[in-house]
Each structure stands twice: as structure tokens, then as C-alpha cells.
Amino acid sequence: MRTLIFERNLARFAASRVASSLAGSGRAARVSPLRLTDSEPPPLPGPGWYRVRPLLAGICGSDLATVDGRSSRYFEDLVSFPFVPGHEVVGELEEPAGARVVVQAVIGCVARGIEPPCEACAEGRVGGCERVAFGHLSPGIQIGYCSDTGGGWSAAGLVAHESQLHAVADDMGDEEAVMIEPTACAVHAALASKVEPGDTVAVLGAGTLGLTTLAALRSLTEPGSLFAGAKHEHQRRWARELGADAVLPPDQLGRAVRRRSRSLTVSERSRQLTGGADVVVDCVGSTESLAEALAMVRPRGRVVLVGMPGKSKVDLASLWHREVVLTAAYAYGVEQVAGRSVSSFELAAGVVSEYRLGRLVSALYPLERFEEALEHAGAAGSRGAVKIAFDLRRKGSAR
């Protein structure tokens, strides 16, 4: 069955880095270590594991970074090759046949058979699992980066532990369901931002992660003003619709935050504000976006890294001088909301339904057209798209 496999091949990894730098994100698939092949379903690692046949599998920013050869070397020892990418998955269980699930891709201690679980997993914070390279599975922070589990970009399917499966409501469409995993990340980010009622919050970036984070912030927190920086017109429309009070081109966001906070600007060159937003959520993950976030956050405010960063060279003097809290939000787990513990996925399903986030799925491609799909995803912003996904459904089975 058709499967996209990513192999360890340093020469191809380097070639994809060069190609994506020259031609743009998503345009390096042909020279990258990713190839389309035929494969069999992965074996079940043990009791409590299920086979999942993907219906839709999204292309995430971290997938693109991998195919582009831009992902950090930090992950080298936290993944195992060859792996099948794809961690944003809505699929059907083999048994009981036809039951739809979304996959909580992070592989924690329970799935790895590690007993007792690490402190993070014991608290339900699987995103913080300390044992992602250990246990009876090969290393892999998530399904989609582990050679033993398979991934969503495969008609052969993947395997997932029962702790990783979330049933999908019958009345939810596949497009909405495939948005639950990225929205779970956004929910976790929104809650990790620790927004107090009335806070001024700025979100940098309006791709899938930025837009879903806006929706999650609006749904789960009470910001006084919610600003969004969005590069493209369709992103600005979405950002407004998903709850931003003011949406601006990225180069105007700092000035809008300054107006709102009525702060001064230390210099035109640095654009460093004296005051600023209470919370800045960086859904881009670049050196530039982190520098912008630090320039527009208030002293003792919070900068939350949500977009996957890599190696960065950023001047942290302002962070030190202004006692800014720099924190991050990765993946999901169990959240504390109004004094009770709730799964990020449960909250995410609510946000997806509330804002009908299935509308963010802009285009579906069969696996065979993976190069086109990746190109589209790499240029989603400029091509008027948000989420690109692979469609692995049999004809006539779409919901």
C-alpha cells in the first residue's frame, strides 16, 4: 500500500535544505529523503495497541521543516528512521471496524510501556514526556517520527496505543476532525499563555497554528485585546473571524501594540517598546518573530513559543533587563480548566466545533501527488490556503 517514507540520508537532507532555500518551502520533496513506496501495515507493538487506517492526514509546519531540511539537529536522537510522517490524523480503527478516531500523536510513557511513568506523564502532560527515546518502542516524539508506529501519510496505516485514541463524534466531518490535533496544540498554547482577564495579547503568525491559537484564546481565555499579525489578506479575514480584535500586517503589529499599551518606543531601529503586550504568542518560530515578540512584550510579560523554532541568534538583553518570561507550549496533554482536569483533545474538539475549523482545510491531495501537496503547503499563505492534507479515503467514504 502506498506510503511516504522518510529515510536517514544526510546527502538528501542537505540537498533538500539547499533546494528549499533556493526554491522555497515545500519545493524540496524531489531531492529530500522522502519517497513514495509500497509498504505493509506496521506490526502491533503489544497489547492495548490498535491499527488505524488514516482518512485525512494533515501537513504540519514541522513536517515541512523536516522535508525542507530545516529541522533542528536536536531532534536527531529523538526520532527513528525510516519513519512515515503524518501526525495530524483522523482515521478508522481496524477493530472495531469503522470507528473514527483522531490520534493523539505524542508517544508518552504509557504507550512506551514504561512503568512507573515519568513525572510529566503521571500528571497527564504527555507532551513533556521525559522518556521519548526509551521503552519498548524506537525513539520518536510522536507518531509520524517513530519507525515502529508508522504515520498518517500512508494507506497502510499506523498503530496507536489506546491512550492515544480519541473517538470522533458522528456528526463531525473528517475535515473538522483532522483539525483537532493541531487545535489541541493551540488549546495547550492558549492555556500555557496564562492570560489574565483584560490582558493585551498579541499572536504572531496566522497559519494553521496562529489561527487555531486565536480561536483557542478567544474561546478559553478573556483577553482585553487580542491582536494578530497576519501577512496575507485571507489570513487577516480568518483572524478577524476567529476572534482577533485587531489584525495587522506583521510589520504594523508592534505599532498597534504600542498604541494599545500607550508605551514609548526606545528607538526606531530596535522598535523596542517600553511597555507592551502582557502576552505575546509566537506561532511562527523564527529568529525574527522571537525578536519581534521580545520587542513588543511588556516588562515581566510572557513570550510563548508555539511555532517550532530552530537554531536562533537573538539578542536576549531585553529579556534579561525587562525580566520577561520566555516559555513554550509544545503539543498537549491534560489541561486545568476551572479547577478540573480536561484533555486538550476534548477542549480542542469543542473549539473546532465552535469555530467550524474544518473550513481551514483548503485542499486535499492523494498521496501520489505528494510533491504538489507539499508545494501547496509550503506556499499556503501566498496561495490563499491554510491547511493542506492528504486524502486517503476510499471513494465515496468521505464524511
Binding site: 504594523q252 498597534a256 498604541r259 500607550r262 508605551s263 514609548l264
Partner: protein
Amino acid sequence: MSPRPGFVLEVDGSTPPTLFWHGEGFRLERLPVGSRVLYAPEPFDALEDPMAAIRRALENPLGGSEPLRALLRPGMRLTIAFDDVSLPLPPMRRPDNRQLVIEQVLDLAAEAGVDDVVLIAALSLHRRMTEAELRHALGDRIYDAFEPHGLLTQHDAEDPSNLVHLGATELGEDVEINRRAAESDLLVYVNINLVAMDGGHKSVATGLASYRSLRHHHNARTMARSRSFMDQHRSELHSSNWRMGRVIRDSGVKVFQIETTLNTDTFPEQFRFLQRREWEWSLADRAGFLATSKALSRTPDRVARSILHGVRSPHRMTSVQAGEVEAVHARTTENVYAQQLVEIEGQADVLTMGLPYICPYNVNSIMNPVLVACLGLGYFFNLYRGEPLVREGGVVIMSHPTPWSFHPGHHPSYIDFFEQVLADTTDPAQIGKYEEAYATDPWYVHLYRTGHAYHGVHPFYMWYWCAHALEHLGAVIVLGGDRAAVRRLGFKPASSMADALEMASDVVGRDPSVTHLHTPPLLMAQVK
């Protein structure tokens, strides 16, 4: 030979293309046959001996005022306020009128034994002048004598300790002006009256006022009722300033007003073609035009801007009058009209104009899109007496590149105004909801007081300046402008005059009548 009066040309098949300013460049456009082109009167002769004329004016004041000499005495507090960098345009060659006048005032003060003298640049909410600009306006002798001792100041409308509230008009308009000026025994105000709007009670009531005072007349309602603000008697802007001026007078502030007028000899020899009527261009004019326009078009914008802002105008003083404010201003206005008025019969469907690189608020700076709008719809549109040059529901076509570009040091709040306010609404009556936040923004206040920035509220005033035109017109088309910037202004972009006229015909109908306001030199239309 006396200068020729203004002239209205009717375009026919043999009329050469018409020259349009286009920011830091030019366009030659063929206007439709039958279009009318309004040319300014030729520049009046300058005063042969301006020093003697100033002396005479100070000794023979108007409106029952005593001669300046008689008003000066030892031990008194004398304040001399003067117009800022916004006048004249372009900056005149040295010596500037302000220098010529103030030197004589200071000589008289010295003769009378007055030793408490302070000079104040009447900035209102404009940016502070640089040392070079002050030296240019006042001359080195005055600058070096006063500035090092802290006696050459610039009005700070955000310094509460230097403001005094003198009362309110019968309509409840607050009158708050510079404390030093108000508490002096004599306030001498020195004007350069480039256009009819300048001077009169507006000099003190606006030039030395605070935001608290200015907001009463710098607003959409007042400006929409100023038809035009170049015609004092039909200008609500002036009515308000006159009411305030009388409160200032009645509160005991003694103002000795000195107003000077200039001829319209605006550009030096190498730009002489600008002031000639196209069909009279000599070979040298053609060569000058070609060389200048090609050189400017091949020069980076920043360099072209620097070259043009370095131009010093040869315009020279044509009159000077001194004494009581209203009497002085009445004479000055007559003189300005004599130089600039051109009669024209009837309104047009379409008014065209070429906008230059400079307006009162971007001297040595960038003409940003908000200023483009203000120059076209505020200043040029209002250069009329009687009726506007274009009919109600008509179209203005103005030529300017309108770059999405701002001087961050001079116009910081303009950037925000453009990005935030105009993105929300371009209706002058609606933008007021943002005004207070901009007027009191601590960052803008800081830059206004310590840097060279226009006050935070200033872009609102520029937009209010457009209120009458925006209410009157059916559409505004910008020829050759940055499309995104033009759309943000709420106007329509056109790439050629043919396109612009085609777009205009959608608003005013086929075969519209067209009038072109040909500048330079500046002129004012008397529309019958």
C-alpha cells in the same frame, strides 16, 4: 513692463501638453480639447528697499496702533513670535522676511532700552525647527545672540507650566496660549503671508495655542463649514480664530502684528520652465525641462527629495504692514489677492491638479500619503473664492506618486493614523473617535516635545482639512500614485490621464468639462 494678470486658456488642437507637478518629478499631459487651464498672474515686482518699507510700517502702523517705537520702554517684557518652518514654500533665499523684520524690531527695542526680550517660534502643534532652519529664518546674528542664552524658544503646546488659559469665547471655545507671550507687555508677531489663510488672529490664536484651544476649530465640522478657508469671510476656521483673538485682546494681551507678503517668483533659474506657460516655452525652457525631469527620474527618491528640498526660492517681499491685527490683516489679504487672484467663469465637472514635492508640513521631509491628500484636497481645492472650481459631485484628479512612505522622526503618528484610522474609516466626521487617544499618547507627546515630530493629533487635522472637499466631491482620483496607498486614502488610482478621465466620466457623465489648476506659481481662483 507690469506683470501680466492671470489667464484662463481654453485647450484646442494646437495647445501643447500641460505640465503637471508629480511629486519629485513632472508629467506632461494632453488635456481634452475644451479644457480650461488656470494660469497665475506673473510675479509682482518686489519692494525695492524692503528695509525702508519695514521701517515705514513700524513707524506708521494701521488700525490706530501707536508706532512700535512708542510701545517700547525700559523694563518691559517683550516677546517676538514668528511663523515656523511651514512658511514660506519653498524656503526663501536669505535673508528671510522674518530676519529682516525682527532685526528692525530688535534694533528699536535696543534703542528703547528693552532688555527682556524672548523670541518664540510659533509652532502650534508642528514639529520643532532645527538649528539650521532657525538660522535660515532668523539669520545667524539673531540666532547667536538669543539661542545660547535660552532666549530663542519654540512654543511647546504640551508644557502646562508655559500655557495660560485666558478664558473662553461666547461660544465656549477655550483660549489657552503660550504663557510668556500672554504675560508680556507687548507681543510682536511676525508673519509671512504666503496664502490668504495665513495671518490675522490665526497667528496667535493658533500658532501659540494648545490642543485644548485648537480642538475648537481644528475639527471636521469647522473645516467643512470653511468655504473656503482661503476666504476669511466665509471661513468658520477664521471666525473661530477671530473670536479667540478678541478674547486674547480683551484679556489684556497687547499684540503688535507685522505681516509681510511675497511675490510668486517661486523657483530659481534652473526650474524657470515651471513658471512659464507651456506654449511660451523657449528652447532653453524645453532643454531645462528635459534635463531636469530626466535627471530627477533617474535619481533615487531620497536623493531627488534632497535636491528639491535644497531649493531656495527667489520670491521676495512685496508688502509689509504693521499694527492692529485686524487692520493689518485686511491690508495683507488685499495684497495677497492682488498677486494671486484669477477670475474664471463657472465650475467644471472635473478639476485636475499636479501636486509638488512639498507642502507646509514636509519641509525637509517626506510627503506621505496623508499629506498628499491634504495638499490636494485641503490646500489646492480650497484655493478659491466664491464657489469651488469643481461642481458639487464633481471629480478631482490629482497627480502625485503618493508613496506608502513616512518620515518616522517627523511624522510618527501619521504612520499609525494611516495604518489604524484610515483602515477603519476615511470619513472626517468619523475619525474623531480616535482623536483623543492620539492627542494624549505619551509617545507622540514625548517626540513632539523633545524631537522633531509633529504632534500626535496632527494627522487628524490634515484629514479635517480635506473635509470640505470630501463632502463636496463625487470622487477623487490619484494619477500615477501607489495603488495601495491611494486606496487606503479612499481614493481611486489611475495610471494615465486617459484612464483617470474615463473613471471620472463614470461619476460625472461623458465629455465632462475640465479645469486644470496650473501651479506653480500659486494662484487663487475667483469663481463666478
